[in-house]
């Protein structure tokens, strides 16, 4: 359907230009900056709802397509469109951004305009990444995103913020330049940067493997997969609450999205050849990082490691299809793996965001993220305690919450692929429960640890609203995931078809 309105362009440029507007508001009028930022983020959210309303889930084709020449000298187009894979992520982005703006409302007191501007510009750029149908446009958004994130962590972050943010930038930049080299190479082969043209480009196996590895370098850093995950705990711990939420909820999903949009369909044969590599790394992330999370004493670090483990599930789900097809298994299971990965991404976006917001609520009051400084929080903050327990349970994958759906799908699919995959993947149910619930036990329950905890104020209306909205969405998605899975069903099947078709020159 066409609305006649360039919805995707609006979704990208309203936040970016709005962000520039907010940038101009100085600290003397910080409440103007807050309200403007909130208005713009709500407007973007509204626009994304229009997108949802106008989206036809039965079609796997790109929708809301916009096509304009951009750099004609190199056949680069400003080409936008969404399918069932990109749309849920765009919705997640606009939704989380509203909450992030609210979460920074009173907490941020220095350079308020710049803070909100950075998040709004980020929002626009992230939507640009999800909506690009041209590889170079994708790359431009992908890299440009680093600039506001660099500033967010570095300006408003914790004590070791400079180290963390430079590490974050250089890690992700190094990963992406290899992708750029591959994209240029494929442009020389196909004469186009259009992603769909790259899908159709036949490639030899050695070339495919190189391209696959370069994509892996870019996306594995972003996901992040073990062993290139070490920037994440640093960045998460030092980032301000809003930054952690955006990082965990959306930026990590860029990597997963990249696998679906680039690695799998552009280099299907290399993916088949090297699926053991990705699956192996994913299982290491699930099991080993799970143990690492167990021993953390810093709440944010614990959630950061839990994010790595959960993202391991996502990449596992994406690359199961080959093993399933080789065992002559049904394609339904393969598609279930992909769907599970996608659902896990959305659900993890909500849950990790919520967990970081919970830590943020505590940090704003106590200025400590150390688990040892807490204990018996529920006595002084009963409402907050309830929220935190709910999110912790969904992080551990409790049935009825969104955390369960994705994990269940992926474990089911991995049984079809290989018993050992499933066994190792399933350990997350134990490990996840162990590290999350143990943290909750030490922080929320037990004796009141000290006077500071006893004097804690429960959540205010703003915080209640943020956590409440997230709790509702986590439960809704857990009890009734059909709207989400329907949305991406046909796009996933189309992708699976693409992935199962060899691109080798006969």
């Amino acid at each position: 359907m066409t609305t006649g309105m360039p919805l995707l362009s609006l979704l990208i440029w309203v936040p970016v230009l709005g962000g520039l507007l907010v940038l101009g508001i100085d600290d003397a009028r910080s409440s103007v900056a807050r309200w403007t930022a909130l208005t713009i983020s709500l407007l973007s959210f509204l626009l994304s709802l229009f997108l949802y309303a106008g989206f036809n889930p039965d079609s796997s084709a790109m929708q809301f397509v916009e096509l304009r020449p951009w750099i004609e000298s190199f056949d680069i187009f400003y080409q936008l469109g969404v399918d069932g894979i990109a749309l849920p992520l765009i919705l997640l982005t606009t939704f989380i951004t509203v909450l992030v703006v609210l979460a920074g409302w009173e907490v941020i007191q220095k350079r308020v305009g710049q803070y909100f501007a950075a998040f709004l510009i980020m929002e626009g750029l992230m939507i640009g990444v999800f909506a690009s149908m041209d590889a170079m446009l994708f790359y431009v958004f992908w890299e440009a995103m680093l600039v506001p994130m660099f500033i967010i962590i570095g300006v408003w972050g914790g004590p070791r913020r400079v180290y963390a943010t430079i590490k974050f930038f250089l890690y992700t930049f190094l990963g992406s330049v290899f992708m750029l080299a591959s994209l240029i190479y494929m442009y020389m082969e196909s004469g186009s940067f259009e992603i769909s043209a790259l899908y159709a480009l036949p490639l030899d196996m050695p070339v495919q493997i190189l391209i696959f590895l370069s994509f892996l370098a870019a996306f594995a850093v972003k996901v992040p997969m073990w062993p290139v995950h070490t920037w994440l705990p640093d960045a998460h711990v030092e980032a301000p609450t809003g930054g952690s939420v955006i990082l965990a909820a959306i930026m990590l999903k860029m990597g997963g999205y990249g696998f679906l949009r680039f690695s799998l369909p552009i280099t299907p044969d290399a993916s088949r050849e090297l699926d053991w590599l990705v699956i192996g790394l994913s299982l290491v992330a699930v099991v080993y990082i799970g143990f690492v999370a167990l021993v953390q004493t810093d709440m944010k670090k614990l959630i950061a490691y839990s994010s790595i483990a959960h993202m391991g599930f996502v990449t596992l789900g994406f690359f199961l299809a080959f093993a399933i097809s080789e065992r002559g298994g049904n394609m339904g299971a393969a598609s279930m793996g992909l769907q599970g990965g996608m659902v896990q991404m959305i659900s993890h976006g909500l849950i990790s965001g919520a967990m970081f917001l919970c830590v943020g609520v505590l940090y704003d009051r106590m200025h400590s993220r150390n688990i040892g400084d807490y204990g018996g929080v529920i006595n002084s903050m009963p409402v907050f305690g309830a929220f935190m327990v709910l999110f912790a349970l969904s992080n551990a994958g409790l049935p009825g919450t969104s955390g369960f759906v994705g994990e269940f799908f992926v474990i089911m699919a991995s049984f079809q692929a290989n018993f050992w995959y499933a066994l190792l993947a399933a350990t997350t149910l134990i490990l996840g429960a162990a590290y999350t619930l143990w943290m909750v036990k030490r922080v929320v329950f037990g004796e009141v640890a000290n006077d500071k905890v006893a004097a804690l104020q429960d959540v205010n209306r703003r915080e209640f609203f943020i956590l409440g909205v997230l709790a509702v969405s986590v439960l809704a998605l857990g009890l009734w995931p059909a709207p989400l899975t329907d949305l991406m069903g046909s796009s996933i099947d189309n992708l699976l078809h693409q992935v199962m078709t060899s691109k080798l020159v006969p």
Partner: protein, 478 residues
């Protein structure tokens, strides 16, 4: 004997600039110190006039004039227009800086205009002789400019180094030229191109001559290992002069490379490609690594320039039209970014306070968010992060490389731009994450602030809409 008056129209711009510069020189001699504004205005008018003439007499195709000593072509016209604009920007940025340091003398403008004339002659050179003439006019003016703050011992030292090394480079170039002349019997570039064939790239004497020519070229570019003068001159010269040396002469070096290597010695490509590869790789590796340990902003920018020069050389060494266009695009993008960066240094300096150290950028965001934002764009552009122009400059060069199958060079260049990102990020870190050392507000004049803003926003705009300049560069090489 019949004397036929040559058609002078291809060189109207050069003649105009020469006449006007002499006029400025004479007029300035009769002015009191308080009236230097007249010199400034006259110099600006010279640039405007030259721009009008060049665009009026612009050509669509190559014209040779004065027995092949002079070439007028679209590439030359565009480069000249960029040079005028750059010089005008330099004058504008420098005005207050020179006044503040009591060096607001006519020499600055006269020498800069002569240097610009040298660049114009190089850009339009059709023979080895005119190429060399232009180069010497440029170089001699620059030596004098570096030393032009008479009381500064640092400046004198830098000028001495620059002069000695530059003279050696000119000697190398001249020796190479003499060898080429000896082997081919012509000094005209088109004559060289006619007399040489691709088989000549294995001729030892020619390669010997070529090597000397390339050495001279590398000196002028400041490519490793002929870069030793760059950091010292950048640091020692008054910032206004550094700004000039860092920008316009790079366009001249690019023109020199194209005229000499491509137009004249195109058939020896097999020979110079390897030499340029070595220079480019060394420049990118060395420039980026050494920049990391610099604490002086001008030295850091000097090493950053060296790595940018490596990229320009990468574009030229592809030997393809796309590569030349990419190198030209890179050169122009580099000039835009560099004028912005040095312009920022001058805007931040005050009476009695010269911005020299990187630490002087500390906490700029607290002192002036707007200036910090502008510098942020320039710095990220230099690091090659989209959506700024520096990214597309790198992109076009890389595409040129991959197209001719030099993918390994492209990957190497990419990896070292990640290394380079580190020291650029440090500047952003100082501006945004650290507390200011002093609370003084920058006190630059409004027109200079507007110019700086326009300069930085151009970095962004050329990045968001890169196609115009890019297709222009591609067109001139078709």
């Amino acid at each position: 004997m019949n004397f036929v008056s040559p058609d002078l129209s291809p060189a109207y711009a050069e003649m105009f600039v020469l006449t006007m510069t002499c006029l400025v020189l004479v007029v300035d001699a009769f002015l009191r110190d308080s009236q230097r504004g007249i010199t400034y205005t006259l110099s600006m008018l010279t640039l405007v006039g030259a721009a009008v003439i060049t665009s009026q007499f612009g050509v669509d195709a190559r014209i040779s004039a004065f027995s092949d000593h002079f070439i007028s072509d679209p590439m030359g016209d565009i480069l000249k227009l960029v040079v005028y604009a750059t010089t005008a920007v330099v004058f504008l940025y420098s005005r207050d800086y020179l006044r503040r340091n009591d060096i607001f003398h006519g020499e600055f403008f006269v020498l800069a205009l002569f240097a610009m004339l040298g660049i114009m002659v190089m850009v339009s050179a059709g023979s080895l002789l005119s190429l060399y003439l232009g180069l010497e006019l440029l170089s001699l003016s620059l030596y004098a400019l570096v030393a032009f703050q008479r009381t500064s011992t640092q400046g004198a030292e830098a000028a001495m180094k620059y002069f000695v090394l530059g003279a050696i480079a000119s000697g190398c170039l001249l020796y190479g030229i003499s060898l080429l002349y000896g082997m081919t019997g012509t000094i005209s570039l088109s004559g060289l191109a006619e007399n040489l064939t691709t088989a000549d790239q294995f001729s030892l004497p020619l390669l010997f001559g070529l090597a000397f020519v390339v050495v001279g070229l590398a000196f002028k570019f400041g490519a490793v290992p002929f870069h030793a003068w760059v950091p010292d001159v950048y640091q020692g010269a008054p910032t206004a002069v550094t700004l000039f040396i860092a920008s316009a002469p790079k366009i001249a070096a690019f023109a020199l490379a194209i005229r000499l290597l491509v137009d004249g010695l195109g058939d020896l490509q097999g020979g110079w490609q390897d030499m340029l590869t070595a220079l480019a790789v060394l420049s990118i590796v060395f420039g980026n690594l050494v920049a990391i340990v610099q604490t002086n902003i001008k030295r850091m920018l000097a090493y950053s320039t060296i790595s940018h020069v490596g990229f320009i050389l990468l574009g030229i060494l592809t030997g393809s039209q796309e590569g030349y266009a990419a190198a030209m695009y890179y050169t122009i993008a580099y000039v835009v970014m560099t004028t912005g960066a040095f312009g920022m240094i001058m805007v931040l300096s005050r009476k009695g306070f010269e911005v020299e150290q990187l630490d002087d950028f500390k906490g700029l965001n607290t002192r002036s968010p707007w200036l910090a934002g502008l510098m942020l764009m320039i710095i990220f552009s230099m690091a090659g992060i989209p959506p700024f122009v520096g990214f597309y400059a790198k992109l076009t060069v890389l595409m040129g490389l991959v197209e001719v199958g030099l993918t390994w060079l492209a990957v190497l260049a990419l990896v070292f731009s990640v290394v380079g990102a580190f020291y650029y990020l440090r500047v952003v870190k100082l501006m945004y994450f650290d507390d200011p050392l002093d609370q003084g507000k920058p006190e630059a004049a409004t027109d200079i602030r507007v110019l700086l803003s326009a300069n930085a926003i151009l970095v962004l705009l050329l990045g968001v809409f890169p196609d115009g300049l890019m297709s222009l560069c591609i067109k001139v090489f078709q």
